[in-house]
Amino acid sequence: MSTTDAFAQAGKTAVLQNIHGTMAFLQKFPPFNQMDSAHLAYLVENCQLRFYGAGETILKPDDGPVEQFFIVKQGRVHGERPHSARRGTETTFEITTGECFPLAALIGERATRTEHLAGEDTFCLLLNKPAFIKLFALSNPLRDFALRGVSSLLDQVNQQVQMNAVETLGAQYSLDTRLGQLAMRTPVSCAPEMPLRDAVKLMHEQQVGSIVIVDPTQKPLGIFTLRDLRRVVADGSVLEQPIASLMTPAPFYLPPDASAFDAAMAMTERHIAHVCLVEHDKLCGVISERDLFSLQRVDLVHLARTIRHAGRVETLAALRSDVCQLVDNMLAHGASSTQITQLITLLNDHTVCRVIELTLEDMGDPGIPFTWLVFGSEGRSEQTLHTDQDNGILFEASDAAEAAAIRGRLLPLAHEINLRLAQCGFTLCKGNIMAGNPELCLSRQEWSKRFDSFVQATTPENLLASTIYFDLRAIWGAPRGCEQLRQGMLKHVAGNSLFQRMMAENALRQRPPVGLFRDFVVARKGAEKDTLDLKVQGLTPFVDGARLLALVHGIGACNTLERLRALIAQGVIEAQDGAAYEEAYHYIQQARMQQHQLQARNGQAYSNRVDPDNLNHLDRRILRESFRQAQRLQSSLAVRYQL
């Protein structure tokens, strides 16, 4: 019987046991679970089932243009491509049960760039290209999936996150919305010569809170808001004078393509309530904080301002729950983990600054300029809601005696600040890495000596210390001393290859929890049985790897993603690799935050441990792929440092 006859027959009796069984199997996985069952039946009826023994090549670049679409029915396939610039090969991805390949090559009608090998005994379903093309034309879910590849998986995850959150909040609003889309009305503007009285009249008629002063080409010269009007009236200024003399000159602006999140961050950072939208030097809109937050229950700008002006530490402490709710809202509105860590860092910085200022007011200003330093995750601007204190004080002193005297005066203040921060939800550091510790309230020279000793004497304690202290940032006081300290540190690290090697070893210590034969490697016993640690096992490899490469290449940035971007810019890592690391890091962080939010809502203690079996199929798959990227970063370090 010819194949076409068989197909005709199979089509008529589409309930053949094996066709039915294979369809039921595929329906557990995207995109097959979204496909029309007639399309799926057609797919299965046109498949071949093939076996590949462990180590056998399935597809290789030399085979020429790809002629088949592969679905793993059972087993594991991995991709290997030649190491760029080095000998040997590296594993680039892993494909397991229910996943398919090679989409890009098949659609691009070219050969695969990566050799696909069976990682273990593997069965694949093979669909020939003509049948794939026919299905590609008929089935929207398959087409979408094929065209967007793995990034469509990430989209699906994001959609899921947002959907869950929107359900609890009932608001449709995204922080990724273009500002151009939010600024609905034409901006109210006037010439610089217009008398104040007329300008205010215009604002009143148009019922707006701000007016932008523009030149004849519509270029913004300044902005005048209702808040300014209060000041002007209080000052008793003459209402007849031209508005140019009373406006805030050179107003802050963003392009209309910037996101709502960008505007929110700008308003919070700069304490402004209006952002001009400017395109080609022409005013095209104004965004107010009300435009941004009309739909949110807790608004970012307001919260930041409340924190900045809080009169008592108790108020600050009470505001912590608002921060928590804000993060909830942000997750709901589709904010990414990067946006949220950025936001938490910003609000935490405001809180720290306010606590310092209040303490100075209460205890009296000793009149000695000092800089408040933060280390670790706070230093990297990667804080989550669950935060420990890691801080110190830097001051200028001409000699050891003066330094000791200043320390004596600053320590009580530092100690009090630590206690008050604890009151505001920043847990006291168990390792006593706090400014109230005499060893961490140092002059610039003392700090620099201390940092040198970390690099010179590579004991395990010093290595550990360097992973905390070398991620530093000034958040209150003059930043100059901190920068000088950093530059000195970078110079020392660059000149010490032994230290670099030790750091590389240290960066390989935490192995991502993916196994050769199982999906994930989880704890075998104890209370942590069957779980893995998202932070230590998932994020730490990225953080350590990025720190090592950044310090070695003289990159001053502390944030892991900024470090990765700088490393790409310097050509230390390939752009493609860097982007993959970034995506992976981002995803693990996102998973961790969602877990924290859930724990907070359920009144549980924060934990970074997850049981992969509790994740849905999609999340599990992406998490595994993310860990795989951490593994790749580590193996590139191992090659670089010959470990």
Partner: protein
Amino acid sequence: MSTFTWLTGHKPALTEAQLERRQQLAEAAPLDNRTLQQRFVVLDLETSGLNMRRDVVLSIGAVVIENSAIDLSQQFECTMQREGHQASASTLIHGIAPSEIAMGAEPAEALLAFMEFVGDSPLLAFHAEFDQRMLARALKQSLGYRLQHAFFDVAEIAPLLCPKAGVGNAGLDAWTQHFGLQVQQRHHASADALVTAELALILFSKARQQELDSLPALQQQLNSRRRQRAHSM
């Protein structure tokens, strides 16, 4: 009709068209110079019991291996009508209800269609001797046809190629478990045929590694293994 004829020992009464089709059936191809790449039909039968003289074939499931791949577009699945069939202990195993048998295809038609599906290909089955005998008897009784196709026994090939598996002469379940295969519905003829075919694919891959790709060579190895075992017993 067919039940009646085997009771009386008369030749089966076939229609003109059926006789014509029987005439057209392909003869089994000789196996010389053939390799494992050629077309095989992997077969599983569900029967009314295990008595090779008394029990009858109730359903046939078959899939095709060609060029070392299972071609899902070529499958055979058929339940046969058996007059006076009653539920027995076997019903619990294969799960084919008497009502389903009553709705089944007329045996001569079913067997003709199956042999057309087989063509000149050799057959593969697990514990093939049973399937071979049951099928041969059914063909004889319902069609007056003599089955001459070669049968290869997966239960025999498996320990030959995987002597270290430690599975020995155990059944299909032991081998599927050994290779981590999943059966969609055990004791459904088609699903059993598919898992037998998957097992065969693994074995073919091992045969290639052991340079036993040629069918006569494989057959020779199987024969000598059989002789050895007969000797040692």
